[in-house]
């Protein structure tokens, strides 16, 4: 790996708050965001760092827990998409032939399907939950990784060390795990932050439309809730969006191409 550049350090700095909220959401907030109080529409102050919303809920708690959930979804989707993409890519590149052709065509179909529409559809038909969202998004995001892995494995297959492993009678599964996987992983890992970005933004969009998980706080929900109070309570709208933007910006800076 290369040296970490200045832009990447800025990226890490920007995602730091989100990472803190991922691990310490319970510690730095008190109680659930859903706890209502009589102090609605409070301006940001020492007591309520980001103010309160129309039901007197503390927005600081909401933003922290929202970022926590965003990140879980981003990571979950990325892990799922990478598992599918890596597995299929290695199978496709290693075995070749009709299987490769079928998988390639399948990936072309998946590329062209409008992902956001699929997620809307699954949210409205299968139900609105974090797990369903992760599964649907992950299942429809593997194509980029698949393509990179496949083309790399196609060339790796002719390398001598892989040929030697084949000649020694290693099983395809062993070759995949021990020889191909370590070689292709660094290639696709560099775009992982972008995959997290996409997943986070898609989730925000879905919950903005009111199709998110109603049990858990989401940044998209906070913003759509601020919709009616945009004239009077700027903080309700500003803090959730700004925190999400900075986090996503952080992830994109980490994989920023100089």
């Amino acid at each position: 790996m290369n040296k970490v550049s200045a832009t990447q350090w800025w990226g890490f700095l920007l995602i730091l708050p989100a990472l803190i909220s991922l691990f310490f959401a319970e510690t730095i907030t008190e109680g659930s965001f859903l706890n209502q109080s009589f102090e609605a529409f409070q301006q940001p102050s020492g007591l309520y760092w980001m103010g309160t919303d129309d039901l007197g809920r503390d927005l600081w708690t909401g933003v922290v827990q929202g970022l926590h959930n965003s990140l879980i979804i981003g990571l979950g989707v990325t892990i799922l998409a990478y598992s599918i993409g890596l597995t299929l890519g290695m199978i496709s590149g290693f075995f070749g032939g009709i299987l490769d052709l079928l998988l390639l065509k399948l990936s072309e179909v998946f590329v062209i399907l409008p992902r956001f529409l699929i997620v809307i559809l699954s949210a409205s038909l299968l139900g609105q939950g974090v797990l369903i969202l992760i599964l649907t998004l992950g299942f429809f995001s593997w194509t980029t990784i698949y393509r990179i892995v496949r083309s790399e494995v196609l060339s790796l297959r002719r390398r001598e060390y892989v040929l030697a492993a084949v000649a020694l009678g290693s099983s395809p599964e062993w070759i995949g795990r021990k020889h191909l996987f370590p070689a292709v992983l660094p290639l696709v890992l560099s775009i992982a932050p972008l995959s997290i970005c996409h997943a986070i933004l898609t989730e925000a969009g879905i919950s903005f439309l009111g199709l998110g998980d109603s049990e858990n706080v989401s940044i998209g929900y906070l913003i759509s809730n601020a919709n009616n109070f945009i004239f009077s309570s700027w903080w309700m709208f500003f803090f959730p969006g700004a925190s999400l933007t900075l986090t996503v910006m952080g992830f994109s800076l980490i994989s920023y191409q100089k």
């Binding site: 956001f116 529409l117 038909l125 898609t202 919709n227 945009i230 999400l244």
Partner: protein, 308 residues
């Protein structure tokens, strides 16, 4: 080759319609049971329903909307022009503006422009579309009071003729800007990266060493090569365009397909949801085909008729 691929896409694309139609049927029976079951033929087997829906869709009939009590195609056709009014100009504006800005970022020696444009593009790329829309509303409608907040026409004016079109244009500015901004960043970043790759190639060095200015060498020699992949990416991002359209229309209460879809989901109007998804996917695929054709016209090395 490209066309065969396209047709196979279309077929498989249409396929998810039938299990989904079946699901939608199942769901509705819970709500409307007695009254609806006979009327929409939900007492038949799931496979029969799916098959029938599929047959009807091929003939251009998406069934009737539960909510609007009108045929789905009719409801969609009424809303389609408004969505296209946002989508088509935004693609053109963002493509030209994006390539232009990317070009400037790549060829400028000024540090602020050279790294400032890509960095602000990254920031722009990180902003959720709907939050951007609210920011624009907050600045231009609430603070400056220049532009209308929502809607497509001013309902108090009852304008006709040229005034009507001016009113629509006035209301289009903010949603259109939101759509343009949501696509712009990717195009800027990609154009710049591609251009910098082209600049490293030997032919570019030849162009410089035969005495061309850097400016001219970039615009006339590197740009034509760099733009091709950019066009492919613009084509492959039409799916994201739909995302942008749905969110933008929701924020601005724009009477287009995206807003209609959100409404259809809220009232559980599944024939309508399926119809819209079908139409939007079809639009995405047609635009993809257009990009492919564009690509073969622009790049003489590509020949779809020749199999390698």
């Amino acid at each position: 080759m490209g066309i065969i691929l396209f047709i196979s896409f279309l077929l498989i694309q249409a396929a998810p319609g039938d299990p989904v139609a079946a699901l939608a049927g199942e769901y509705v029976t819970q709500e409307y049971r007695e009254r609806i079951i006979r009327h929409y033929g939900l007492d038949q087997s799931i496979w029969n329903q799916g098959l029938r829906y599929f047959q009807n869709v091929i003939q251009g009939d998406f069934g009737d909307s539960y909510y609007f009590k009108d045929s789905v195609s009719q409801v969609i056709i009424e809303r389609l022009p408004q969505t296209l009014l946002l989508v088509i100009p935004s693609v053109f504006f963002s493509s030209f503006l994006g390539i232009f800005l990317g070009l400037h970022a790549a060829k400028s020696n000024n540090t602020i422009i050279h790294s400032g444009i890509p960095l602000s593009a990254t920031l722009l790329n990180s902003i959720p579309t709907f939050w951007l829309a609210y920011l624009l509303i907050l600045i231009f409608s609430v603070k400056l009071n220049w532009l209308p907040i929502k809607g497509m026409v001013n309902p108090r004016l009852f304008s006709t003729g040229i005034d009507y079109y001016l009113d629509v244009a006035y209301h289009t500015i903010l949603p259109l800007c939101t759509m343009i901004f949501s696509q712009l960043a990717q195009i800027i970043l990609l154009t710049r990266v591609r251009l910098e790759e082209e600049i490293k190639k030997p032919y570019f060095r030849t162009a410089i060493s035969k005495g061309l200015s850097k400016n001219r060498a970039v615009t006339h020699h590197a740009l034509p090569n760099a733009v091709l992949p950019v066009i492919t990416v613009i084509g492959s991002r039409f799916g994201f365009l739909i995302t942008g359209a749905i969110l933008t229309e929701t924020v601005f209460a724009w009477p287009g397909l995206g807003r209609l879809m959100v409404l259809a989901i809220e009232v559980r109007d599944y024939p309508l949801v399926l119809g819209i998804i079908f139409i939007l996917s079809a639009i995405v695929m047609i635009l993809n085909l257009c990009t492919d054709i564009c690509y073969s016209v622009l790049d003489p090395r590509i020949d779809f008729n020749r199999n390698e």
